[in-house]
Symmetry: C2
Subunit: 457 residues, 2 copies
């Protein structure tokens, strides 16, 4: 019987770093990664295969990263786990022994049972090269593309579809009142909507799909409002569900959002089996409540916790913060932690500060673009809860400074007196630096708040 | 007699944020800012007036920022402080009463007494519009520019001089073995040197100026090695010294680096007088020893501490970290905290990790450029001591995430499991994200180190 000290099931954003981390922390242990896909897609790159990248074949994670780290690869599907015998069985008929097992089986798209959803030319986002190539082909010949769901996947695919086809009619249907509403506060959402509309993408907000109409192939989408829109291609982008079947079959505990239940060490209910990434249950960094967030960057973090803990608990996952970035039109949009709306909903009393400045100084330096930062703090402790950024592309790294602040539960004063590196050709001036000033504005706003309450400032 | 609750002396990177912070924290207090300059230059923008920006008039801080924040402005030179009477006297004959006084008098260039240093066409970097305009004019007509000092000012002016004049001979003389040696480790310095040499800038490293030769006007520079080089324009860029005369005259304590002595609240030896920015004494964030660092971004931080503490101690300055960024050729160079060499010199046992990847994913995304991160940790605690970044421009914001990590004394494990926002068009993939991987590599290196020492990994 084949054996490996560590067997990782899954070869994407969770599986790869779990295997690498295991090799780094326990170099004497052998690691075998088993995955069913011949080729692995870069998950966050998928929307871009329709436009800038051009095709799925250009959006692959090279296997060289496994080889370089001394990780063995087996392309095969794992069908069973025998927890007592410490073995797995594959569709190819192999039985493989393990000391530690890591489940990194990912997620699949949610496709709700809307009438007509099985018609031809209705797609979901499957991480499968051949399937995505068929989607590219369909996009080349269709006239009316309807995207269901105005989250990141939806808006990014809409933009890339526009890049691919100037003549295509593109619309997005979204149940909520705003695009990207779960991640940004309303004013940021409105800017994102403008960026999409400026590219001739129609937004049907506060609308729900009732049914898909047509013959074998989709022809129209009927909305709950009664409106019908032409559609010869539909893409469902409404979220993903954990691939937890294998774990369930093995009798592992499943959590409230239907992911594989894990503790802070990323251990499942079987202490020799770990889970990480989209297949694993998550809690919020803030209140510890179950979270449905599924992001490649969370998957890699969890994988680095799981991989380090396989033979001795070394790291703790304190829960998901949620750090996102995207670019719409020429504007970067990034967010970390809670939005103001979400924080209030969770019961926090909040103070908010905003600052906007160009990302150069003086403003006549080439490449000067506006960059706006909004920060949200708990009013009493002034601990940061979240931040949002829009504008220049450097916002894509600035959000990671904000994420570090959230991780460390920094207060508005900590951030206001935080030492920043600034440069005329790279950032705002140290006087106008947005992150620091947004914290200062939140404090200034809190003085106003407390004087309104009759407290002394 | 004129009176203001708060009087700030100085109107640049320290004075402005000190005044603004005071207004934000104590909105009921009146603030008067007194400065001697008619116009205030953006200090970090000065090298760029010779090239991209074009002239000093385009590198000014607008006075609107004072007005907007309800700060009164007086252009006049303060000649005396009467600490008992709580008044200042100006060259214009005004006597002004204060409750709290903030000294933000900045620094002036160090000009060592090298023989011939007073010859015509030898300049230092004075924050004076007319003087800098004369420098621009001199640069337009000279043939051989010699810059003394290969720190940030020196290398940035060299590049901008090249941008202004393709036909100019430009050389930089530096005492140390490498350019920017105090801020970067050797491999980063070598890259910076290549970027300069590729633009036809000659570097004379490990060389010292012995004298300036010529008639009234400089004609040649004689080096200690005996070499002589042609020079009809010289710019001294070897550092700055605190403007502490006014404080000294008022009997305030002066510190070991000749700055105005302050405590952690930025209070001078007179509890009603605060000092911040280049004129104030500084200590290192790491060991608390005196530090000669003078940066606009440090000035603004200290100003935000001073301004908030004027009537009640609210913030603490834990000392300077030193966060820098610049761009040479098309490559951004940024650094925060200690270099590896400096850390070893201070007695730390260090572990180091590096990671390089393109700042896009997949790598075929437009705008993909390499971005390299090096992190330095104390070996036993694994607390971060410093970081260096080179490559894509987004490194200018990434260094601020590293600065946050240093502020919070994050460990390599904290950083390795830190949640990052990543996006195909903005950053490396979450698997390859450089900051996280550099921390992971440092940990992997520490295992190797401890197994070499015979400790169990």
């Amino acid at each position: 019987m084949r054996k490996a000290d560590v067997v990782v099931i899954g070869g994407s954003a969770a599986g790869i770093p779990a295997a690498i981390t295991s090799r780094r922390h326990y170099p004497e242990k052998s690691v075998l990664l088993v995955r069913k896909e011949q080729q692995v897609l870069i998950p966050c790159g998928i929307p871009y295969i329709f436009g800038i990248v051009g095709c799925p074949e250009k959006d692959l994670i090279p296997d060289a990263v496994l080889e370089k780290n001394g990780i063995e690869l087996l392309v095969d599907e794992v069908t069973d786990i025998d927890r007592d015998a410490h073995t797995i069985t594959t569709a190819g008929g192999e039985k493989i022994g393990y000391q530690r097992l890591v489940l990194a089986t990912g997620s699949g798209p949610i496709v709700p049972p809307i009438p007509g959803v099985d018609k031809e030319n209705i797609f979901a986002i499957r991480k499968d090269v051949a399937y995505l190539q068929r989607m590219c082909d369909a996009m080349d010949t269709c006239s009316n593309l309807v995207i269901v769901g105005c989250g990141f996947i939806g808006v990014e695919i809409a933009e890339e579809a526009r890049r691919r086809r100037k003549d295509l009619n593109i619309s997005i249907v979204e149940m909520l009142r705003h695009c990207l509403q779960l991640v940004y506060d309303e004013d940021f959402c409105v800017k994102a909507e403008e960026a999409l509309q400026n590219q001739g993408i129609e937004l049907l907000l506060d609308e729900k799909v009732e049914s898909f109409l047509g013959g074998e192939r989709v022809e129209r989408v009927r909305l709950a409002s009664g409106r019908e829109i032409e559609a010869d291609m539909v893409i469902m982008g409404i979220g993903a569900a954990a691939n937890a079947e294998l774990a369930k079959k093995a009798g592992l505990e499943i959590g409230p959002t239907k992911g594989i239940q894990v503790n802070r060490y990323m251990q499942t209910s079987d202490e020799h089996i770990f889970a990480c990434g989209d297949c694993a249950e998550k809690v919020s960094f803030f209140d510890g409540k179950p979270s449905r967030l599924k992001l490649a960057s969370i998957a890699t973090m969890e994988a680095r916790v799981a991989g380090a803990n396989l033979f001795s608990p070394r790291r703790v996952n304190m829960g998901v913060i949620g750090v996102y970035s995207t670019i719409l039109g020429e504007t970067a949009f990034a967010a970390a932690g809670l939005t103001e709306a979400e924080a209030r909903k969770k019961g926090y009393t909040v103070i908010v500060g905003e600052a906007e400045a160009v990302n150069r100084h003086p403003g006549c330096m080439p490449g000067a673009e506006k960059l706006r930062v909004k920060l949200i703090f708990e009013a009493g402790s002034r601990v940061i809860l979240g931040g949002q950024v829009s504008g220049a592309k450097s916002g894509g790294e600035l959000i990671n400074a904000i994420s570090a602040c959230i991780h460390q539960r920094m207060t508005a004063d900590d951030i206001a007196t935080f030492q920043t590196g600034t440069h005329p050709a790279l950032t705002a001036s140290p006087i106008a630096y947005q992150l620091v000033n947004a914290a200062e504005m939140a404090i200034a706003n809190s003085w106003k708040l407390s004087s309104r309450w009759g407290m002394s400032g």
